[in-house]
């Protein structure tokens, strides 16, 4: 895994998650990968070791668990291999 990517059901959740997580973790805002569809265009990238902590922080903030999903992302040959780590599959 190169990084974990948190994708959201809507843009407002993405923006508030970025603020919540940015206070405690190192985060990067990035466009949702083309390989991951059916979520809003803004995603939050965190370090591979931080995704469980990130999920915990989001739940503690009151965000509902069905508002986000977390993927592992590994880059290979210019493409991305993505695998669902947490959240309901689409």
């Amino acid at each position: 895994m190169d990084y974990a990517l948190i994708v959201f059901a809507n843009t407002h959740s993405a923006i508030s998650a970025q603020k919540i997580l940015g206070e405690k973790l190192s985060v990067i805002i990035m466009p949702t990968l083309r390989e991951i569809s059916k979520s809003c265009g803004i995603s939050v990238r965190v370090n591979p070791d931080d995704w469980q902590r990130a999920s915990q922080l989001l739940l503690e903030s009151g965000m509902s668990h069905d508002m986000y999903r977390i993927y592992s992302v590994t880059s290979m040959d210019g493409a991305h291999a993505v695998a669902l780590l947490e959240g309901a599959p689409v």
Binding site: T11, A14, I15, I28, I29, M30, P31, G41, I42
Partner: protein, 199 residues
């Protein structure tokens, strides 16, 4: 006395067609009169492709282009002009805002972060990135954008940050990436680029 063709007032490509007809008819020594410099350029291009030389004289807004035989025809492919705006190649990015577009500021801030993320991951990089007005805040105050700009700089992009603007916003001592620059350098980068994308 050479043949004089009157192509004054005729729109492109008529003057070229008239000259071509004359050449095709076996005459390579003639004068064609036109009234605009674009027609002159196109006639010169035709002459080159047909192995003719030209001499142009202007009087009272009328250009007399004299054709004469000389040398070998140059294949058309070698005389075709470059497209005015190359799709790929040397381009510049102008950033005059610290967010993308008008509307909700928070959204615009995240859009510009995502833009620089995407740019830094891609292969088609600008030669120069130019920051002015509130755009300069990105190079000093936005940690994420600064990181992406460092990657872009390490990959060969030149980053020009308007010193007047840094000064105006009182953040000159907080600049984290790029070189402090001025209007001369920034405008030169814009003029030198095949295209400028403005955010």
């Amino acid at each position: 006395m050479a043949v004089v063709l009157d192509a004054k007032g005729k729109a492109c490509p008529m003057p070229v067609l008239m000259a071509k007809k004359e050449i095709d008819g076996g005459n390579r020594e003639f004068v064609i009169e036109v009234d605009n410099s674009t027609a002159v350029k196109n006639l010169e291009k035709l002459a080159l492709s047909q192995g003719c030389a030209t001499a142009t004289q202007e009087k009272d807004g009328v250009f007399a282009v004299a054709f004469s035989a000389s040398g070998e025809p140059v294949p058309a492919a070698e005389t075709e002009a470059e497209p005015a705006v190359p799709i790929k190649g040397h381009w510049a990015l102008f950033v005059g805002h610290d967010c993308i577009g008008d509307g909700e500021r928070e959204l615009g801030t995240n859009l510009i972060r995502m833009f620089f993320y995407t740019l830094s991951q891609g292969d088609d990089l600008p030669k120069a990135i130019l920051f002015m007005n509130s755009g300069v805040k990105l190079t000093a105050l936005d940690e994420q954008v600064v990181e992406h700009l460092k990657v872009l700089e390490s990959r060969g992009c030149e980053i020009y940050v308007c010193g007047t603007c840094l000064n105006f916003y009182g953040i000159a001592d907080q600049l984290k990436v790029g070189n402090v620059s001025n209007m001369y350098d920034i405008s030169k980068q814009m003029l030198d680029a095949a295209k400028v994308i403005t955010l």
